[in-house]
Subunit: 347 residues, 2 copies
DNA sequence: ATTCATAATTGGAACGTTCCAAATCCGTCA
DNA sequence: TGACGGATTTGGAACGTTCCAATTATGAAT
């Protein structure tokens, strides 16, 4: 029942060549003669040989594994990011360890350690909230390529790929202003993250630029989830001077805001303008389709993987920080011009 | 710059013991004296030693890796499933390879092969559409534990963990019937999958049981996504004799159906009853909150992992098929009793 | 002091690959 | 025929761990 493992020497023996030759075939070396190659490949198939990467690793101390650790796989933004990475990495003949930290630093420490033990040759990390440069220090010192994605960490000394959150938020808010909105809220997200910080500054700068004042009360943090969006909009609507539009921390929050709006019998896009951030896959098909700042999560995953692979191949590259450009995708959820509140005309 | 790898012999040398002792410490063996253990642990920390699992694997030919391959990570059902697995697996000191096949059999073949090469000690697979027992044969023969999840494959000879789709669908449709609905549709999903088949039979059996006839036209397949839901409901509403309620293939479809309903100015839950399947995390917070058949994806992931781990530890366990029970979670989206169409009274 | 059992430690061999230097093959040219 | 050179092939020594059998230290009992 328990099968003996078939090894290269078994193959070698069966094919009447040496193990070195088999190894050469395995690596696709041009050194081996066409006919022996064919013979070896045939016996490999016949005996059902399975390559043992652990052994190979041990010898050449470079694995074909990259690790990706994300802070919240439940959020479809990160799920899409992960599939983007997967596509790229698979293409390069690598395989990925994926781990989810659920925003827990301790867990993150564990999984990174575990990945190191497994000899990953590079790591893509979307760090858990509150991760500091010091947390990454041992990893960085070991010299294994790391690219931080989504959330950058100052002075960590590694490459990073983020998106232009400030510009994206400004573009969104400008658009809202053009449409006549004056009371614009910024909803959702954890205020202690760099991403929140950047998007919020973009929001604020756009208001200032238009000579509007940025009321403290209009920025309302919450969990960056659908549920968080619901609570944020509820809070916003309790204000004496209610907003008529909102830029949301991300799409999940935006969907939640739409839900919350409906719960009070307001139709998003008609009675209240909402803009998201990320352009998750459902943003397009939702009703109303979500206006959002597109950061193309899947593409971002791919680019992060590319960056990492480049670094792995280069041996030791200089750390580079890329900030990807973003663009506002105008769909229906911001459709409400403030003066056109009499939507009844439409139906 | 390039650090030399620190190995057990380095530790041994520095701590003044033999490499065997260091190995014993690493494995937490009770054989080693308390004071030497402390000394060894100290030098391990001092030298920044990183355990090399490849080498260990090679020697003991059992890794602490399990693989999980899913057919669509973009679908939050599977993302949650993966998180569930992750939790369990991490707890057991394992680490997971995660790969996404995007429903492509060829890709699935590749990733499974790759995982085998990496010496995973078990595999959790949610097979791509159209996977046959033959596709899994080489894997199964190799004797590595496999548990199929979500989608079972007949005669594959491996354990599986599915949910009681038939019973769940029946419960949902019965509920709709009790509320007075007579024209009930079954929307979304690929008709050529076992899961579709089971849910659809449940739907049909419930109708038959109530003496209603199951009109062919009322079951409408589509991609099992939000976008698919939109097209399915559109098609349903073109029917001469429109349905007043629908059981959807999964929650993603159900959300799409809600979107599609709104697009034609119908309020889900008030003007049309919709029930989903899965109980994805957003089902609870959506507006209207989605009535759905709860499958508890995360719990399912955990159970699958447990099953697999049990099998790994047992060496070679009998294949067992578990079908998890499900329950109907009644929330708002099915709120419409057919006779109460005058919802204006509510607001 | 000697013996004995128990506790703690240890030196190799082994795991399956890769890589190097060296060996062999084979056709060609002088 | 013999030497030459490019094309192939090959034996062993690594890689960093674990495991076994065997050794040494420790302390109790005689």
């Amino acid at each position: 029942m328990v099968k003996e493992r078939v090894t290269v020497v078994d193959i070698a023996h069966a094919a009447g060549v040496s193990k070195s030759t088999v190894s050469l075939v395995l690596q696709g070396s041009p050194l081996v003669n066409e006919v022996t190659r064919a013979k070896v490949n045939a016996t490999i198939r016949d005996l059902g040989y399975v390559y043992n990467r652990s052994a190979a690793n041990l010898r050449q101390s470079k694995s074909k594994i990259i690790g990706i650790v994300v802070n919240d796989l439940t959020n479809s933004f990160f799920a899409e990011l992960a599939v983007g990475v997967d596509v790229m990495v698979q293409q390069a003949g690598f395989v990925q360890f994926l781990a989810n930290t659920g925003e827990k630093i301790e867990r993150q420490r564990e999984v990174v350690a575990s990945m190191r033990e497994h000899g990953v040759s590079g790591l893509i990390i979307s760090p858990a909230r509150g991760t500091e440069a010091a947390d990454l220090a041992p990893l960085v010192e070991s010299g294994i390529p790391v690219v931080l994605v989504v959330r950058d960490i100052a002075d960590a000394g590694v490459s990073s790929l983020t998106s232009d959150n400030h510009a994206g938020a400004m573009a969104a808010v400008r658009h809202l202003i053009e449409r006549g909105h004056r009371r614009i809220a910024f909803l959702g997200g954890f205020p202690d993250t760099a991403v929140f910080e950047a998007r919020m500054r973009g929001y604020r700068d756009a208001l200032l630029e238009a000579g509007l004042d940025a009321a403290e009360a209009l920025v309302i943090g919450s969990a960056p989830s659908r549920a968080g969006g619901v609570t944020a909009i509820e809070q916003a609507m309790m204000l004496s001077d209610r907003p008529t539009a909102a830029l949301c921390f991300n799409d999940a929050v935006a969907f939640g805001v739409c839900d919350g709006l409906r719960a009070r019998r307001l139709e998003p896009g008609a009675d209240f303008a909402v803009i998201g951030f990320d352009d998750v896959i459902e943003a397009k098909t939702a009703v109303p389709a979500l206006t959002t700042v597109s950061v193309d999560p899947q593409g971002m995953g791919q680019r992060a993987a590319e960056l990492l692979l480049k670094q792995i191949n280069a041996g030791k590259a200089q750390a580079e920080s890329i900030v990807g450009s973003v663009r506002l995708v105008v769909r229906q959820s911001c459709g409400a011009a403030v003066e056109r509140r009499t939507r009844e005309a439409l139906s």
